[in-house]
Structures are given as C-alpha cells and as structure tokens.
C-alpha cells in the first residue's frame, strides 16, 4: 500500500504526451515556497476551509478526538486529529477534507490503465510525483514495475534527495526523470532544509548511467538565485535532455493555512 494525495489524469506538463500523474505523499524537503504543502507529511491529514464553514457543529458531534470546537468560531486542533474522516462525511458545506489516502499499486494502476489509448496516441504515460516519490520507495518501485509490465512509459518527478542506491534501482524502471534543482548551493539548505551535495551527486549519477533527465527549476524571483545561476548550473550537465523553468504561484499559501501549517513570508 502507498499513501496517495491524488491522481491527475490528462496531465500535460509532467513529461511527454498525455499522462496520468500520481502524487505520493511525503517529502524530505521543506521548501519555503512549497506549492503543495499538503504533500509534505507522509500520512493523511485534515484540511479545513473556514470560508465555506456554516458553523453547524456536526463535525464536533462525530469527532472522536475533540478536534473541532465552536467557542466563538470554528477552531480546529490539527495536532489532535487522527484523519479518520468522519467529520468530512457529515459536513454539509464541503468545508472539510482529508488530504491523502491509502491505496494499493494495483488499484492505482487500474486508473492509470484507463487512459492507455491516450498514451498511445500522444506518446504519454505514467508520471509519479509527490511529495517526493522515493520516500515511499517500495511502493514507487511496485507502481513502475506494473507500468513497465503493461508497456507504459514511466516518468518520476524527484527532488533528488534520496540515497544514490535508490536511483540505481530505478534506472531500469523509469524512462524519464523530471529532476528538480531548487536553489544555488550556498542557499540550498536555507531555502529547502537540506544541503544540495547529495542532490547534485545523484543527478550526475543518473546522467552518467545513461538515464534520460529533464532538469526542472522553480523560479521564485529574488529568492532562489538568478536565471544566470540556474543556466550555469545546467550547463555543467550537457547530457540533460532539457531544462524547464517553473514559475512560482502562491496557491500553497491558502492550502498551508487550511492544514494548519505556517507558510513563511519568504519574499
């Protein structure tokens, strides 16, 4: 079993062709600008949208952990929540939801295979993203193995922060790596929570091993280095298939607030 955030069909920006992208939960990095803060924690978690709440109190009635309180307004004690989901089922306003659910690789593949015809006409396939998919390594391998068995093109989107042996194991299973590089060396730990040595080493390893790699760089203006720095970095790796720059958006801010985590003012 793996823990999934979502499966996105007709994904057009995560590799060639029409793809299905499976987002796995859990990430070892802690990027300040994280677009998907709900993907960081490895386990399912509650999200609450106060703007939609009608204050009916039904969630409090069914909650076994006393997460919901209504003293003067609806307060959510995220730390106490076990993500059982009971409150989601009774909320009349759709203000509550759980990010993350457990599923088997076979179940996921059933959904992925539904769009096989579209992969065939477009040169697409499966992309496993996250979070950081190598965090659920056994499950990731299982998914990729099933896809390869079906003859489906596979891509893995990774931040690169995992033991090199894992990438070695992925070589025969993954047709394309979408490999993130998030910040210059001297800023990397400050902005993402981890140093970049391992990430750079793994990138070199993959390219030396003949893997197909597209480098992806988030562009957070004035925060994570200049375009010149990014291009200079990419130039060190002539075997890269391509370099993609991903624009920053602040959808992560609202999502962070709704799952009760801080979203730092990094700009």
């Amino acid at each position: 079993m793996g823990t999934i955030i979502s499966i996105e069909r007709f994904s057009l920006n995560d590799g060639p062709g029409i793809r299905t992208t499976v987002f796995l939960k859990g990430c070892p990095l802690n990027c300040l600008w994280c677009h998907n803060p709900e993907s960081k924690k490895p386990r399912p978690q509650l999200s609450f949208n106060p703007d939609a709440c009608v204050g009916c109190g039904r969630c409090a009635e069914v909650c076994p952990c006393g997460v919901h309180s209504f003293a003067d307004e609806h307060k959510v004690d995220f730390a106490a929540c076990s993500a059982c989901g009971k409150c989601v089922g009774v909320c009349p306003a759709g203000a509550l939801k759980i990010y993350g659910y457990d599923a088997s690789a076979e179940e996921i593949m059933k959904t992925v295979l539904r769009d096989r015809a579209y992969y065939e006409t477009s040169g697409g396939g499966l992309t496993v993203s996250g979070g950081e998919p190598t965090m659920q390594f056994g499950f990731l391998k299982e998914l990729l193995t099933l896809a390869k068995r079906e003859g489906i093109h596979t891509a893995v989107e990774t931040c690169g922060f995992a033991p090199t042996e894992r990438f070695a194991e992925l070589l025969p299973l993954c047709d394309l790596f979408l490999y993130d590089h998030k910040a210059p060396a001297e800023l990397h730990e400050k902005l993402t929570g981890v140093p970049d040595e391992l990430i750079v080493k793994n990138l070199a390893f993959l390219l030396d091993s003949g893997a197909k790699v597209i480098l992806r760089c988030p562009v957070v203006d004035g925060v994570n280095g200049t375009n010149e720095r990014r291009r200079a970095f990419a130039a060190r790796f002539p075997k890269l298939l391509a370099v993609e720059e991903l624009p920053y958006h602040d959808l992560g801010r609202t999502k962070a607030k709704r799952i009760g985590v801080d979203y730092p003012d990094f700009k």
């Binding site: 996105e8 069909r9 007709f10 057009l12 920006n13 062709g17 029409i18 009349p92 539904r114 769009d115 015809a117 579209y118 065939e120 006409t121 477009s122 040169g123 697409g124």
Partner: protein, 719 residues
Amino acid sequence: MFTAKDHADYIISFINTYREHENAPRGERELACLRVFASAFFLPFDDEDIFAGRYRELAVGFTPQEHEYNGYYMYDKKVEAVAAEVDAETREKLREAADWFRDRTTVAKTIAAYPEKITSLLPPMADYEDAASLLYRIGGTFPDYEKLVTLGIPGLKAEITARAAQGGDADFFGSMLGALDLLAEVALSCAEAARAAGKDEMAASCEGIAAHAPANMHEALQLITLFAHLSGNLDYGRLDDILAPFAYGVDDEEIIRLLIGFYRLIVFRGWIWDGRVVVGGRARKHEKTADRVALLAIEASRRYREVLPQLTLRFYDGQDPALLEKAFDNFADGYIYPMLYSDDVNIPAVEKSFGVDRETAEHYMPFGCGEYVLEHCSLGTPSGTINLLKVLEATLFDGRDIRRGKQILPKRGFHDFESLFTAYSANVDMLMEALALQEKIEYDVMGADAHLLYYSMLYDDCIERGKPLLSGGVRYLGGTMESYGNINTADSLTAIKSVVYDRKLATLDELKAALAADFKGYEDLRRVLLACPKYGNDDDEADAMAVRVHEQVCASANAQTEKVGLHTYKVVIINNSMNTTMGVLTGASADGRGACDPMANGNNPMGGRDKSGPTAMLNSLTKLDPSLHAGAVQNMKFTTEMFNKYREKTKALLAAYFKKGQQAMLNVLNKGDLEDALVHPEKYPDLIVRVGGFAARFVELDPDVQREIVSRTLYGNDN
C-alpha cells in the same frame, strides 16, 4: 412587393387548386399545387447574392417538412394574420377556403388515422409537457445531387421518359416530368430577373440549367439550390464529391467564392437544425479532387463564420491528414465547424444498426441535429420525442407528472430497485410502441396523399421500380425517435439504487417527498444524492447505469421495427436545446438536479458533474454502444489556450477518443468569454456556440439555454 392581398389570393388559389384536383391522381394534384406554390414562393435576390433562390414563408403550401407540418400544410395563425389585413370580401373567401382545407391537410389526415393506442397516450401536437411527443415531417433527406448535376434537368427527363416507355404508373412518371419542367421554368424566371438586374453570371447559370446539364461549378450549385428550395430538401450531402468533377482548372479562390455564395443561401434559409454539408470520408467517387474541395469548403466556412451550414467532416484512418489538420485550424480560430465523424467507428456501427452490408454503410450521412440515414436510399425522419427523466418521474409517482399532477402513464408497483427498473422500462416500452406506430402511420398517410415527386426522382430505386418514395419506392423505409434526459435518468437511478435500496440512507417516501418539494427542507438528502457517482467520470458504477438506460431505450425502439413494419426504428440522442425546454417542464430528479433545471445535453454528462478531466469524460462517452442507435452527438468545450498551446496533445486526445467515439462537436472558447458575454453581449456578436445538434450566436440564445451552455464543463490544460 407581396402584399397581404397577394398572400390571400395565393392561399385561395392554392386551396382551390387542391379542391379542383381533390380526386385527381396524386401526382397530378401534387404538381398542380406545386405550380401554384412556386408562383408565390420565390423572392428576388439580394445585391450580394450570386445564386438565385430566396423564398418566402407561405401560410399554406406543399412541402415535406415545414416547422410543424408535412405535406399539404396550413398555418391557421398565419392565415388569420393575413385575413386581418385584407378587405371583407377577400377575408370571407379566405376563411371559407381555410375552413374547407383544415381537415384535408396531411397532418389532419394523419391525426385522423390514429388508433386509440396513440390517442389515449399522447396529445396529437407536441407541447413537450408529457413524457413523449409527436412530430410531423419527412426530414433528413439526401436526394442524389450527384445524379442531379450529372444528368441535369434534360438528362433526368430522358431517364424518366425512357422508364415510362416501359409502362407503369403514368401519373407518377408524367408528374415527375412536369415537376422537372416546373423547375426549369423557375430557373428561367430567375434568369429573367437576374438579367434585368445586370447579374449576368446568375442569369447565365439559370438559363444554362434549364437547357442542359450543369457545365460548371456555378451552374451545379445553382441547380442544387433551386432544387433544394423547391423540393423542400434541407440537407445537402457530400458536396465535395458532388462538386469534384467541376473543380478541375478552377482556382482555389474562385471555389471559395462560389462556396460562400452557396452558404449564403443556406444561412438565409435559417434552418439551423439542418443545413448539413458533408465532406470527407470513405466511398467518394473522386476522392483526391474531393479532398481539395473539402479543404476549400472548410476554409470557406472559417471565412464566412456563420451558424450554417452545419459543415460535417467524415474522416478515416488513411485519409489525407490535411483535412483534419484544416479542421483543427478552424477550431484553434475559435470556430465550431466542421463537426467530426469517425468513419472507422461509424461505418461498422451503421452496418450493425441498420442491418446493411459494409459498402452500403459507407454511405451513412448525418443529417439535421445528428441522425443518420443512408444517402439517397433510406429515410429515418425523427417523428417523436421521449423525455426519459419524465418517464422516471411518473414511474416513481404512480404514473403522475409531479408538476401538474396529471396522470400521464399507468400506475405500476415496485418494491426494490430491479422492479423499479422493470416498471420504468415498461413505461418506456409503452410510449415507444405508440411513437413507432405513429411514424408508420405518418409515412403511410403522406404516401397516400402525395408522391413527393422531387424526392422520388432522386432517391435510388424509385424511378426503376416505378414507385413513389413512400409507396414502395425508397429502398429502406426507417424511422427514428429522439430520446432526451438519458443521462439524468441514469444518474438518478444510480442515486436511487445507492441511497434508497443499497445503503438505505433514505426511504423511497422520503426521496419522493424531497423531489416533490424540490429539495426544500431536504438539503442534506440532496447533498447525499449529489455525492453519488455521476456519469462522465469514467466511474464504473455510474457509467454502467448509463449503459443500462441506453441499452434499454435503444432495445425498446428496435423492438418496434417489425411490429409496425419499418426497415429500422431507432433511437437518436441528438439533442437540440430540448434538454433545456424539457428540463423546464420536469420536476426535481434524484440525481440532485433541481426542478425546471436543464437536463444534460445528448449523451454528455450533466454540466459541471464531469470532474475527472477530459480523458475520463471521453471514456464515459465511448461506453454507450453506437451500433444500437441511429446517431448521437457529443458536445465538448475546450479552452483556446489548450488548443493553441497543446495542439499536438489535443489532437492526440481526440485521436484516442475516435478509436471508439463516433462523433464530436467542439467548442473552443476563451476562459470566461461565455460568462462575460452574459454581462456584455454587445462585445460578443460573433461568438458562435454549439447548442446541441445545432449552432447559434450565443448572445441571441434564450437565457435558460445560455445558462445551460455556461454550466457545461470547459476543459483546458490546467484542470
């Protein structure tokens, strides 16, 4: 100037002509009436017209398909309007004539022929309040225009004369010859007017076609135009192949000029539900040249950018890819035509559905809003409608319509989901039997009333057999009926099964109370119903129910075929704006749809309920077997951004869909344009949208229909 007095004199003259010929042979009467009709019918051309053929709507006349009538028709209200404007003496004569004619129109005779099985169940004229309605028309015809432009008027006369010499129905042959003479006279009178106006090209063609077979493309299009208008034919068939022999040595811009001139009169006719011009596909005689004409026809439509013609592109694996590429250029430009039809799916489907061989099936033609016939050898006019959601409503409420309380179907008991489905099916079957029977009666009465001379001379077998179209002439006499509300019915049944019978979250009585109250006070139950799986998400449970509803209604229609003696009797899921019209008359439904809200369009998901992206939506669509019916339409909305930025991926999306999908009508729109057009209509005069089986300028649509179109899911690259 055609005054009210002129109109009154025409009406009196038409009716008197009919009266004088009431007991004459059918052909003689039809021809005599056509002569009077043609004398008043045609209008002068506009300054910009390059083809003659404008006409006026007359209060009485003879035509296979008027808006509400067929054959010898009379619009009482129009006659009254004319009567109000003329002198007392004329008025008296007019009313006397109308009173005499009223029971002698073809529709009056059709209604008089109904058995109790029909009259006890359905009102004679459609109001769409009930679960089923009757329509009157001989629509969806594709006369053999290739033959027309090859033989011309003299050649057709020669063929008929030769056949008549072998003996047979002298009235039939003689009146067909007379009808061709009439066509030539009409052409000559147009020529005279054109000459007087200094329109030499038009004049020369009109003179030319009266004397010989068309010698060039202008003459061919002029002949088709006059024939179509006089015969009442509204769909034009495979224009690329028909015109191919005239395209040699004519440059592209000249062909585009002629096509736009031809389209101009199709737009003038204003039959937005018809006006099919079909290009591409298998079984064209001159494929290579036809492909060139097809490309120009697509380009002409893009430049002209109107709601008509309903340009239709058939394509197959192996066809010149430039045609589809050209279609995509149109879409990327925000234009809706051509509609796409996959021969690789449709031909085998038609082969099975119509029970014909592959070669015959290659001649399938989508007409009107999307029903199929076989060009110039089969009929399949849609003469009835069913609102399946209303059938389900009445089934749940002891046969009653919940809005009006009227008993519209028998009360049938049920105690679990399967017996509910059985009761619903029995109601569908009961209505279907009446609808099919009506279709056959309509054909029989029409056939007894008239030969339909113009169609008979250009439908396969009629001349050879010496038999008029509806009296043993047409090779395949089939029928169709339009089914609406299929998807809401399926989603409602899914919800009822889950909520009432499987999970028991509400009793049947609670559900009925909620529906009767339009969910007021039952908001929680509505939420539960809305949360049930919905068709359009590639969801096994919801889609299986849609398949079940689809198969039931298709089988119900098929089962009537032999009973009533037709070659085929098929469902079409074509949808014009009837999903909105009927939705307004239908109570709240168990899928969570509110009372009077629109129903889903055609086979499409209910707007906004397809939440799993376009691949999932398209997968749902392709689960409904196209070989069970005679046509269905699927509307899809995509963003312009997606079409332009991801053109190859969008093409791949549709290529995969078309492995199983038969048809697609694409609307490519900028995000927010429709919403903005509701607020600032003046900014969007040219925003053309597909409604269902027809197109319209968005700002001219009824507000209910506008809202329904806005509610449909718009697919982009960032779903």
